[in-house]
Symmetry: C2
Subunit: 544 residues, 2 copies
């Protein structure tokens, strides 16, 4: 392959470059009017209390959907939801071949295709990295205009326990060959030093479990199979059998075994069996480290789990980090466990009980020394992370560093790297099972109702606009208090509605829309007087 | 005073003993049927996204309201909202005299009364402590059955900058005299060492500000007058004038000056003036360290502040902690500032830029060594904190330690300390300006609507239950998507409503309530089929 005149190599993040999560990266090659594309990762992020009812948030694929015929393939670097979770929702719109390694593929239930089958200007080679899930891959993307190293999520773990260590030789050789651009993980750019090794965690776990006498529950991310393995081996070393609690633990264990992991350990015991074991002979490996309300640990803390109960002398180990935004649910969960007398161990009070899967500053520096790119393109981070990462790259003598936002199309070659276009890069919300726009009406209405409540008013008018029945006013979410009865308020509001109707001209009274608007306005005004807020008003006029 | 037979001394927390915040403590003295009470603190906590529309949360005073005639006084230890914020909402129900020191009283706009005017079995002495606000007071509560040391919020700051140091001599003397029980702050019981001194913060601030060239915004809690003072002096030492931005900064500055604080500094410049200063001659002291959306810093970050703009080469200092639950808004705020090129400095990356106002483990140990109580009663904390604090007290050789929940009435004397009663101790929500119960209908309905949406259906029936007009179905917060039009869904739903009506007996059709229930059930079922969720349904039958 060689570059034709007019060819450009561009990088375009549509997700992951304003947030940690929702990774969706495009690489384009060719002249502006005829580019071929590869997609690297297609992940989700999750809704929270600011998006009530929305559980999943997807990157908006509108831009690349228009060019779906020019997508050569979708490459999934590893199986975390923020890298693969949008495939079931968006693949139909892109319909390009999916490329993933076996563990990832098993979790996607998609047939594996080999990455080297890709046709077109992109030549892909996987580079083995270490992370907090099996089979984390970096990508060497060779093109006629140069090679891009797309790291995906990584760290440098000298003792990852499962799978090989980071293939630094491959990265060095790529550096010798010449790396045009490195698109790199920014998650821990504010953390000095190194993330630490899974091997250390295993040692810490074995020692800690050895000191505990009662029942033990341990929580970790189910996808962190090395961690599961460590907890299981630490339990076995202390003569405890392991019981998996929570559906995603069972699902991940199956995925791990499908690729030959989690072998050579004793069979798991079921939660019904485990109840008959002596307290110091069992360890429950649980989902729910983030305080998720329906997960195993939440039910144990609430005392509602059908088979697992913890109390005084028992212990709970959180071998996991706190995902930002989950602080309050985790705190509530821990208070409930403490209240049962359960001793709690977290990475905060027991260093080494968890390590991050993302590179800290010293690891980033080593990666830059190995790869020696011409251009640094930080991704996988919030604005703060990306900007700081670009600074770090400049300190490491990288000639060019830029921190594009989602939707910024960066020309990597030829010429100086720069943003040459901005394309739409919003989010889509999965709401009631439907894929809806980020700023759609439905969520806006629900949020408004959550803070302000709802009033409904219905009345029947004859053809001349005279009231035949009603108005009836109902309230949803409007407070009353001692001395101010809600029924009384609704009577007041019905009076206001009637008065508003009377003020209308007979023409307007013939117009359902005009009547509904007048009622709505009158009720909003009256509600503001009573409650100092403006509820949503749904007015219905029936003609008889 | 001497104890009569049957006299008991009890402690009853109605707030602050399940959470950090909302402090509301009762001390009772006398026989069970005729106790006299003092109230120590009457604070609030704040609503969050789990309580949409609820801004303020109050402790439920129901128990003590019944005994309002037996309240000798309400003593406010210091002016933080979690200690005084419920006074405007609940004082009417208790109507007891308020006791506070001048700074606290100024902020309450209540007349100061001297604590030693209290009549009855309680003899109160204030003990000067250090905290993160002027005039933090501990209380020595002497009774015929013994003395209680109620610490309020405190730390041991050898160099508090404003106000005297912790009066350890007074505490030691009280210990010599004999302390029956100590009711003590648990906030930082999981933190080793000491909280650190305001004096250190001042030094760190002066040096950091000296290194910065552009405009500086600094954020702190406005009530932390010592911190304001430090920032102001650090600015002046570096030849910068100070501009206060945000209403609570101006309010707190006025309160501070009313008691002789914040003196000997240059006059503040207004935000309009400050815009004309060279960048390196001004420092903006701002509200909004918690990411509050309408505070000064949020408006600066959004670029919507009328007079203050920050950009590249400028800096923002967060001289404050992250209050749990505010992580996400603070992160969003910081990303927006970083995106403008503003350099950020927080306590995380610049140790000493903030210190806590609550005692860490070493300080707690010293307090136990000074006071030597018979009974330790941890308060001001979540369950985890209280339980750990009780352990720490036992390690410090305190003979008895118990961790009551809100509503647990603890007999401190005579006899062994124990919980002798449980009284209701819920929360009240200020909702639409009305004081409402915690588990009231209105909030429940709004939360349900937030996640599930609302459907309304109205129809007009004649006296025989035949449809004269409608049904009309409207939706609020129900999503549609490409290929599934919402109007189409509403037509479907109207059909379902009609079908449901037809299935009713003629008796039921005469009954508005029965019709409304049938419509509601039919629409919920249909909605579940379409959206996999159950909206609230408001059905209205009009008879013509």
């Amino acid at each position: 392959m060689s570059a034709a005149p007019g060819d450009e190599l561009v990088f375009l993040p549509l997700g992951g470059s304003n947030e940690i999560g929702m990774n969706f990266n495009l690489y384009g090659y060719g002249p502006a009017h005829a580019r071929k594309w590869i997609v690297v990762d297609l992940g989700v992020t999750f809704g929270d209390q600011t998006t009530p009812g929305v559980e999943i948030i997807l990157p908006d694929p509108a831009f690349i959907e228009e060019h779906a015929g020019d997508i050569l393939g979708i490459v999934l670097t590893h199986a975390h939801e923020d890298h693969i979770g949008a495939v079931p929702w968006l693949w139909e719109r892109l319909k390009a071949p999916l490329y993933a390694t076996p563990f990832t593929a098993f979790l996607l239930r998609e047939k594996l295709r080999e990455a080297d089958l890709l046709d077109g200007p992109f030549d892909l080679t996987l580079i083995t990295l270490t992370h907090s899930i099996p089979e984390p891959n970096g990508l060497a993307i060779r093109t006629p205009l140069g090679t891009v190293l797309h790291t995906g999520d990584w760290k440098i773990d000298p003792d990852p326990l499962l799978g090989p260590v980071t293939d630094q030789e491959a990265i060095r050789r790529l550096g010798d060959e010449g790396v045009l651009a490195m698109v790199c993980d920014s998650t821990n750019v504010f953390v000095d030093g190194e993330a630490g090794s899974e091997g250390t965690v295993r040692t810490v776990l074995r020692e800690l479990i050895g000191q505990l006498k009662g029942k033990i529950a341990a929580a970790c991310f189910a996808s962190n199979v090395a961690r599961m393995d460590s907890i299981i081996r630490a339990a076995e070393a202390n003569d405890r059998r392991v019981c998996l609690v929570g559906r995603s633990m069972l699902r991940m264990a199956a995925a791990a075994r499908s690729v030959g992991l989690l072998t050579g350990v004793q069979p798991f015991v079921s939660d019904t069996e485990a109840g008959y074991f002596p307290a110091d002979k069992v360890l429950y490996l649980c989902t729910g480290s983030q305080g998720e309300p329906r997960a195993a640990l939440a039910r144990i803390a609430d005392g509602t789990h059908p088979h697992v109960a913890l109390g005084a002398n028992d212990a709970c180990l959180f071998s996991s980090r706190v995902i930002p935004g989950n602080e309050v649910p985790i705190r509530n969960l821990q208070n409930k466990l403490a209240d049962r007398g359960v001793r709690l161990f977290t990475e905060r009070d027991h260093p080494g009980l968890h390590v991050s899967g993302h590179p800290c500053r010293d690891e980033l520096k080593r990666m830059y020394q190995w790869a020696r790119p011409e251009i640094a393109v930080p991704t996988h981070g919030e604005r703060r992370h990306l900007l700081e990462h670009a600074n770090l790259a400049r300190d490491m003598q990288v000639p060019q560093a830029l921190a594009p936002r989602n939707g910024d199309m960066v020309r990597l070659a030829p010429g100086r790297a720069e943003v040459i276009d901005e394309v739409p890069a919003g989010r889509l919300y999965v709401d009631g099972g439907m894929v809806t726009p980020e700023h759609g009406e439905a969520l806006r209405e629900r949020r408004h109702a959550a803070y302000n409540g709802v009033l409904t008013v219905a009345l029947a008018l004859d053809r001349k606009g005279r009231i035949v029945s009603g108005p009836q006013v109902r309230a949803l979410g409007m407070p009353g208090e001692e001395g101010y009865d809600l029924e009384e308020a609704l009577d007041d509001l019905a009076g206001e509605a009637e008065a508003a109707l009377k003020k209308l001209s007979s023409n307007d009274r013939d117009d359902d829309h005009a009547v509904e608007q007048a009622l709505s306005r009158a009720l909003k005004r009256a509600a503001f007087r009573i409650w100092d807020r403006r509820p949503a008003v749904e007015a219905t006029v029936l003609r008889v």
